[in-house]
């Protein structure tokens, strides 16, 4: 890894500004559909009777349902670098459960933009943080998503 920084442009004024992406009610039907698609069989998510006797007193949403929510277009760092963009990583923090009938609101900001140069070339990383709160303002989950911009070797 070298320490030389590549030249790239982006909108520095966007860093740290929070944007509300939208809200969505998490219905029992939505939880059921998510479980069907993802093959969830955990009774906490699928079985009303068993979940009622469990630690939360009702069915809850699988963690993946919350961090899968895409409620709108987030802030754009307007990175001018490379010809290809791909999803490099995702980090989810789970803070509280989501129950049927809860309304989840997502707020997103661009946390940082930075470059790395290694053996495979230069990459520019854009890290966005999305926080999900419920109708009481309680933080239920947060996700940090890393997108990478890189040049395509056309040789």
């Amino acid at each position: 890894m070298t320490t030389e920084q590549p030249v790239f442009e982006y909108d520095e004024s966007i860093i740290g500004k929070e944007f509300e992406l939208g809200s969505q009610e998490i219905t029992r039907e939505r939880i059921r559909r998510f479980c069907d698609v993802l093959g969830e069989t955990n009774p906490l998510f699928t079985d009303d009777e068993a979940a009622a006797a469990g630690p939360y007193g009702s069915v809850i949403a699988p963690p993946g349902l919350v961090y899968s929510l895409q409620l709108g277009q987030g802030p754009d760092a307007k990175v001018k670098f490379g010809q290809a963009t791909f999803h490099a990583g995702e980090r989810a923090e789970l803070h509280d459960v989501v129950r049927p009938g809860d309304t989840v609101t997502a707020r997103q900001k661009v946390k940082e933009v930075f470059a790395k140069t290694g053996r495979s070339g230069t990459m520019v990383f854009v890290v966005r943080r999305t926080e999900f709160t419920n109708q009481d303002g309680v933080l239920v989950a947060a996700v940090e998503q890393s997108m990478v911009h890189r040049e395509v070797n056309r040789g």
């Binding site: 093959g39 699988p62 490099a88």
Partner: protein, 146 residues
């Protein structure tokens, strides 16, 4: 309710796994449910034409959907009283439609933190070509005995 592992019962080196087939119908349903506003950008997830337009040989599974499968592995294992604190995943390669995958978990550390039983796990997806398209780390709190 499912079996419940306790902090005192697990050790570094313990492994567990599940399987998952990346079926086209399920990917399409996931995209419809969660990425309805993605428009043409979602084409690489749903059609051969869309995949080829961005240089891919087959349609692929959204990264977050694959991450949901690793999350399912952990939440199935940790039982109803377990709590998933974090899951952190790197996307190394695409998961393609039709891939048969193993989701694997390996306990790497156990630690008591302020009375809580905290377990650290390596998690990854392995396809039938021997590749690991997703690798990550999950941190779980398990209930204590007694």
């Amino acid at each position: 309710m499912a079996n419940q592992p306790y902090f005192e019962e697990v050790d570094p080196g313990d492994e567990f796994e599940e399987s998952w087939l990346a079926e086209t119908d399920h990917v399409a349903a996931y995209v419809d449910m969660n990425m309805g506003g993605a428009g043409a950008a979602a084409g690489r997830f749903t059609s051969q034409e869309g995949a080829e337009s961005v240089g891919m040989r087959k349609p692929i599974v959204p990264g977050v959907m694959s991450m949901c499968i690793l999350t399912r592995l952990v939440t199935d294992w940790m039982g109803p009283q377990g709590k998933l604190r974090t899951i952190d995943v790197d996307f190394r390669r695409p998961v393609e439609h039709g891939d048969q995958l193993r989701a694997l978990g390996l306990i790497t550390d156990t630690e008591e933190q302020d009375g809580a039983g905290v377990v650290k796990l390596d998690v990854y997806l392995e396809n039938d070509r021997g590749e690991r398209p997703l690798q990550g780390v999950a941190v779980v709190e398990l209930p204590r005995q007694g």
